[in-house]
Symmetry: D4
Subunit: 247 residues, 8 copies
């Protein structure tokens, strides 16, 4: 954005851009306005990644509209998160997407080459955490990362965790996904030498309070090198993990 | 209590107890009334343990009054919990108690013989949890148990935990004390084969919310065989552990 | 687990186990990996109990897969918790389980001989708490305990509670199950001389907040010898009660 | 208030009161304006009770100013709640009040004759609840009621509660005061045949959360005939109990 | 209950009751045990009111079973709360009850004569609070009280409240029912000279948090003479109001 | 209302109104009583706006009844909020209303002339906030205001926000609508020179807690000139914005 | 800010400003950087008001440093909020400020002429709310508004509220300040015809939870035209009220 | 840790290590046991960083004891967090540490060479957030990173934020520190192309609830690439930022 402003100012000085035009460009250029959504058409270039549509709270019509606008701007790979099967089927009538039911994601244009430096380990405490883990794993792959899945390695059966010590120590980033007491993040944080991004899940009942228990547990981890994202936010964890893996 | 009623009824049938007296006894017998407190003078016999005074919210005068009443009823060992040094010093003017500053407890009459079957392990996640742990350990000893202290064995340094695998596996009951994320209970619960009583502590800051984080974490533990007591309630954990250890 | 490590090390010294193999065994041996789940195939032997599958959040396919793996490892009795009727019927197509609709549990291989020392009393405050109570009672039976059910003995009708004074005093462990104000645990804790495990239930409305009211009430009980498990966690209470009853 | 409006309207019709005056009276008559407080000088007559000053958040100057205004309007008995000793001593320089340190209340003009129909029982779960109980008991006496104090009758020692069955059954209103798990209200509510007003107290630690635990417990009581006032609100409970006792 | 014990003891003394029988009677007499429920068959006599069945969480079978037991004990009027239409229709196959859909209550045996001293006013803040108000009003009538309904008199339109000043001032007890900000209780409490029982309702959205907002507002009322029951607990408010109205 | 009282009092003085009639008028005049609702028939005149019916929690019958009463009093424009399509269709059988599905509102009598001074900007953080925004925008138009919609201008894409700097600076009132982190209000509050009314929305998942996150964020805004309404309360924001725009 | 950008761009086009300079100005001009604070030196001109320093969390040194920078930029009137007496006295050693102890504010340069259109009414429910009210009233005066104070007009004594009907109806904006149940805002919102800004206060105890009760009550008000600011935020309410009063 | 096990096993195979010794080493080697603390003496080597002591909840004696043990193991640089001035002065009697009062940290052995790849930007919303920011900045420097401080760049004055666009875009990691509404993280997350670690602070009052408001806001950020640490946890943010900056 900074460069855009510089270039615009240079144009004004050269006389190649009028003041009115410059003001107008500042206001209208960087996105495509659909009324219900402003599409950031420069972001893919600027940030070097495919574009993502957060599907929750958007109708199939709105999503396909946004996709069409993106495609018309030259975007070739699109990730759509948090869409149920029915909505995906609606979208598939217009655009060719692969739908991943467990992760509730759709992908247009397939997975890219691996561009990240190391491996992103995606670990879960239990079987019920797998949907969130798949959202994270597929997002990380979509963003060009090598991914290693370690599912059901919760600390109540510590030998299951320790059996994967190799993968844990070799990881470049770890995404630790757990509901209930969320202790997985602390144990992995103590064993690993890389950043750990913790994802609390809404799995559980009673005093798990829809993920609050795991969230608080992870925020209070005694292990260093852990940060936390929103409950069930597999996408967000993978996005940051990818940024780290591309440093 | 049941036996008391039976005996009373037999007295009434025999004519040795009048109906009025029986009613009167039911109402006045089982405790000593000091106005501000009713002292349960039969409980020591009935439950086979020394008597305990919960010191918080009671003045030194009230505590010494209760102690005097207990002593006059034949009690020989008394435990007083949650009293600061100054209150203990006030009490020491009248009654000979040993004061434990870290646990903030006073004990009259010393520790009894060990009567419990096995060892009660008292483990903490960190150094800051030690005051609660000492409250638990001393209470357990006061109630006739062999106690093994394992302090600062939190799971963020897993090798510290695993180094005590012997003690953990050999325990008859474990008291797992931790603040912050409270993951110690889950890991011990997964390793041990005995009941684990978890004590969340108010140690921590920010999103530990005075122990809520650890409390929720422990209530949601994926490991089986864990139950939980109130935040910082070392006494309560030790009391139940002793009951279990005397089964 | 400790013994396994010792034995493995001895094998390495003897030359009967190579270093590579030892490392490999440490990582792969103790469980059966189904991808979505790691099955702890040694636990039944190690802990002397039948195996349990936590059914919530697992599909019928995943559950039957886990059961098959367990059976192939020699397991003969399996308990599956928190499965609705439909899922149970799916499972019954492959495995012969008895389904208990009120407790929402399935059991393969029937109940074992009683091996516990005394009686586990399962008491509820009201009629609406019975499903959680049945989860507890059946689990306790599955784990080899003699169980006595006392339902609808809430303290708002104190004579109903007191009428069972015999059972309360004779119990080796009590599981006190109540929603709303959860006062049952305190009253039983005051009357009994054995450990009481309290289970808050999500029964109630308004300010019961899905069991929070009962949970807090039980954590704050003035009676000694009480610990608490998660809301509606009849299984967890019974598991710990059984550990205590087998001391 | 209704009567005042009627009388004013009649005066307007009679011509004895001008419209302007009527409007003026409606606005200025019913209280005495001190700038920082409006004193309701007719309330004592209208509601037949002495006047009360809520002392918290008011300076000694403000309190004595309000008292002077009340006395000048003919008030003879005044109750001041929630004032620490120092503030009471400041007030005593100007007005002759008796100070009750445990209840932190001051009373000018002494206690009235008993005018209520029956006895108000003030019961507490423990010794630490006594300050709130004294606020309730003294308020009830100030409002003309016969009061019976039953302190430290908590349900964890049920025989202490049952020993006072006479007083409980004979009460016209019961004020049940308890912190921690607040179970006293439910047990008394089940035994008594009169209205029970429950007062949660902030006594306790950890998961008592400053009285929230007791508050929720009391709001969820399974016993009928119970209502609840704010945490530590001994005054409010006594005020309503007095209204009931004067029906 | 006290009298029962006295009488029993007298029987023991006379020899007309053996000790074993006395113990047995203490344990089995006062209720009818259906396994899933203990029915208090003496309560109607003891407390002078018809019997109530809390319908939530009970099946139609359980309810009809309880009703049959009550009828066989001589009960003639029964109130069943919180049953949806379908459950009521199931019950109507066996027992003749009148169903009130708005209040979701069923009544067997009709309304009794008015036995209460004065009028119970049932007031609501809005139209959406009417279902809770009807639960209260019908319960009060079932317990023998004269009831006056004042619906939609919320304080945001103060003239609607003031228009009923007569009814408010003449009431013997007021039940103030409101959701959202719950200010109705404070305003009525300031105008009335009788006890006000406040019922928060779960009506509202957003920051009303299912009635918490109204509950807190009512607990914190500045007006004296107000106590509060659980969210949506029209029954409980009416039960206590009836006790007060029968003093 | 003040004027009404003055006029009534003058009538009483003149003898043109009897005291009884005056009292009667005070009580019965200002609204139309339907039993379940009191309709304020003078408010439109008094406050100069069309009348509004809060549709949630009211049946179609109740709504049409209220509408009929309003129409019979001369009301010509009516707004009904929070009604689903089905309820709107029921109402349309009796009254001619235009239904706005996204906003879930119905309007009878169409939009009025613009009477407000400036423009009310309605801005949203994302696409999912649009339903609340439409409730606000349509309400503002119904109350006579010029409205400018700026949707999907959230601060995570700051250039989208800044592109509308003109509209933001020129606004007379801004309604800032956002879920999740609610940062839009702070950024607009920092840029604008007019009052900003913030509306948190329940959009989001996990730790958004149904809008609590956005609500707290907006209440804590560091920018001056911001106030907040209830979660999802587009109507309330627009109502106040219109009051401000008509100053 | 928009104008600055336009002017800057025009300068670039004219050649009177180089591109480098323009970028530099965009980055460095609009504030004065003290390291620990960036002072917005153009804001007074831009927004036409005196400058405000939020004093909480700033040392006396930091505050005087900021004041000196402001004075050197030509600012003549400065308001400092939330400073205790001691900090004010420190500041007074360097700068001549008037300190208002109840409001805990300091003002340099005195109050300006009244520039607002109408009157801002500042009303409180009780005497304890006065400090917050004074913060609001003095801020409003500092921003050029005519202020009318109505203190202790809470709705539990409704005649006190109604006595000021004139002031309420004549106000151009009302700031309604109340703790505890916060009902004042709803009643004023129902009576007034102007915008009401509600300020919950942390006054109260127990279930007032430091102002949460009043905050929720105000957010849920049934009266239209009300918005809410943070707990105890008298300044924020007055700032917005002034913006409205200067429309 | 993995390597240690491998090496140990090889020793056992070679006969150079006995099985008993191997077991013993596994248990006792990796830390130094002080009773109240287990010091991880291999960690500095293993993880390549200086050692950190979390000072809160530890006495000066405990801290100096731990430091002595570390120094005896060859550690040369030690960071001690969260110690007040007095405790630092106690420590300085034994060990030569530099104390940073704003950050409340002590450092022994000085800062290391910069070893991280890029710049870590530490940004705060306001002046009051500086103490947490200094904890983060000094920690990052202690761990070998180049740090750029941007203080008081909160989004309510957006030009202050934008003026540092250069630093924001050039950062390798950003630590965004803010209390109150926490919007800084979202805005920086939208502008930056690197990972953003958000630190909520407990700065604020009222509905900021000790940092909960900022915490929730940051967890719900719409910007991608953001993760969050505990309230006021400047250390934890810097630790993870350093891990990322050393990838």
């Amino acid at each position: 954005m900074k460069e855009d402003v510089t270039r615009l100012l240079e144009g004004v000085r050269d006389g190649s851009v009028s003041v009115e035009d410059a003001l107008h460009q500042l206001k209208t250029k960087p996105f495509h306005d659909l009324g219900y959504a402003k599409i950031d058409t420069h972001r893919a270039l600027r940030q070097g990644v495919g574009e993502v549509i957060y599907g929750a709270g958007k109708s199939a019509e709105q999503i396909t509209g946004i996709m069409s606008a993106m495609l018309s701007e030259g975007q070739t790979r699109i990730l759509i998160t948090r869409i149920p099967l029915e909505k995906a089927q609606e979208i598939q009538k217009l655009h060719e997407i692969t739908y991943y039911p467990e992760a509730r994601m759709g992908i247009l244009g397939g997975m890219p080459e691996v561009s990240g430096k190391g491996t992103i380990v995606v670990a879960t405490g239990g079987t019920s955490d797998v949907p969130v883990a798949e959202e994270a794993a597929l997002t990380a792959q979509f963003l060009g990362n090598d991914v290693k899945r370690l599912y059901d390695v919760g600390v109540a059966g510590l030998h299951r965790t320790l059996a994967h010590l190799d993968d844990i120590v070799d990881a470049n980033v770890i995404i630790a996904i757990a509901g209930m007491e969320g202790a997985l993040a602390s144990v992995l944080g103590g064993l690993a030498e890389c950043p750990v991004i913790a994802v609390p899940t809404s799995v559980g009942y009673g005093a798990s309070f829809g993920g609050i228990s795991a969230l608080l547990s992870m925020l209070n981890s005694c292990a260093s090198g852990i940060s936390v994202v929103n409950i069930d936010n597999g996408f967000g964890a993978a996005y940051q993990a990818s940024l780290i893996n591309h440093r």
